[in-house]
């Protein structure tokens, strides 16, 4: 009996997965044509904390993001996945206007955080960044004690009450699942913590400021599997309490930790839906080819 690829498109059925990547859409994208993003209806049913609206970004003459429109749901974890260079980190950094620091960056379109335009010229960027938390690939604790790291944002905001600071420190460290490990050495240097602990400290520091959205840029890529497991567990616990936007190149991490997943390719949003949908029954063959590891 001769075998045919199980996943070939069949007459009468929806487009199917790619045992041989059927990537017409990706070829169109590569040729610079616009393709509409496939956004599943459940995404639109959510209340957005952040709305990305026809957002384009150029580094000099090179366009890195093409007309991205996507709502980021409130109190849910949303993962951005896609091959290297697809623009997922650029998009994440655009949310707190870190790209402002890059010369030659030009943008059109807008993003709104709880309705407030992020790219409004009158927007105070420092105030804007206070409303978001950001955690980077490599843990970056400040060279000070664990305690001071966590309450840093409150201190620069002028909070002096010991009681308030103590309470926020404990709550944030508990929220970041780090309290039990560090409660007896809060005044030791944060640099003495392990990599995984440092990363959870950075998350504690971010949530201490009660951000409206927490941005995580490949937060586990510098961690060993055990530390990664702990951070992933923490992200799962943040579900329902914080709005999280996470960039990851690890698809299992996206599938384990997020409620929604967006697949990006060459600066475009290709498909966006519930994580379960994207990983069991993606609508587009291109998404299927990517999540099954057939390309990228």
């Amino acid at each position: 009996m001769s075998m045919q690829p199980v996943t070939d498109a069949q007459p009468g059925g929806p487009p199917l997965a790619a045992a041989q990547p059927a990537n017409d859409r990706l070829l169109a994208v590569a040729a610079g044509r616009d393709v509409p993003a496939e956004v599943h209806p459940e995404v639109r049913d959510e209340t957005p904390v952040l709305e990305i609206d026809r957002f384009n970004l150029w580094y000099g003459g090179k366009q890195a993001l093409h007309g991205i429109t996507m709502p980021i749901p409130h109190n849910k974890v949303t993962a951005l996945i896609g091959p290297s260079g697809c623009g997922k980190s650029t998009l994440l950094r655009s949310v707190n206007r870190l790209n402002d620091l890059v010369q030659s960056v030009r943008i059109t379109g807008d993003m709104r955080l709880n309705g407030d335009s992020i790219y409004d010229p009158r927007m105070d960027v420092i105030e804007l960044r206070k409303r978001m938390g950001m955690v980077f690939q490599k843990p970056n604790p400040f060279p000070m004690s664990i305690y001071e790291n966590v309450v840093y944002a409150l201190r620069i905001d002028g909070e002096t009450s010991r009681g308030v600071l103590d309470e926020v420190c404990e709550l944030s460290l508990r929220g970041a699942a780090l309290w039990d490990e560090v409660k007896d050495r809060l005044h030791d240097s944060a640099l003495g913590l392990s990599g995984g602990q440092q990363q959870r400290l950075c998350i504690a520091r971010a949530i201490a400021a009660e951000p409206e959205v927490l941005l995580l840029d490949e937060p586990c890529s510098a961690l060993d599997p055990i530390a990664t497991g702990k951070v992933e567990e923490l992200i799962q616990e943040l579900r329902g309490r914080y709005s999280v936007l996470i960039v990851t190149h690890n698809m299992q991490q996206a599938s384990r930790t997020s409620d929604y997943t967006a697949f990006m390719y060459l600066g475009r949003l290709i498909e966006y839906g519930s994580t379960t949908g994207i990983f069991t029954k993606p609508v587009l063959r291109e998404t299927e080819a990517y999540v099954t590891g057939r390309f990228g």
């Binding site: 199980v6 996943t7 199917l16």
Partner: protein, 219 residues
Amino acid sequence: MTHHIERQIEHLKERILRVGTLVEEAISKSITALINRDMHLAQRVMANDEEIDRMEVEVEEECLKILALYQPVAADLRFVVSVLKINNDLERMGDLARNIAKRVAQLTAGEATDLPPEIRTMAMQAQDMVKECLDAVVKADPLLARQVREEDDAVDEARQKIRRRIIQGIKNDPENVENLLRINSVSKHIERIADMATNIAEDVIYMVQGDIVRHRNTD
């Protein structure tokens, strides 16, 4: 990694089709044995069931290995999960063929009893369904799978007709009740085989299109 999982999936396909071929043969031989009153053939079917059982376990182990080592998603995940279920149904079809063969052995030991005329057609319809559902697996063809689902009604009707004939037969000839009950069992087993083929067809639809159509009407 990618090439590995593709190879593993290809290998799994070959294995499940081997189980399918053995089961198809077992069913076909058990029916031939019934019609030709062939005791030897029936005994061979009974003996061969062990091979099907052994292969069923191997396929299941292979599926578990792929799930554990490769964490498949999307089409790959649907394929492995469908194979797990198809494998289970095939093994049960093998058991049903063995059960038919057992009844045939009992029927051929004594005096011949006429078979109800519907049983041949019913057996042919069920065998067609088995063949088509396996073709649907090979070709990943949801249209063929949907057709198999629709064919099940005809088999169910035939089974009811046979049942009524058997009841009448027992009334007319109470002496022959043992044999008539055996034929009744055979027709029930054939009906179950068609049901299992329908299950497999439904798994194919899930495998290819991601829709769970079980417990839904065919129309």
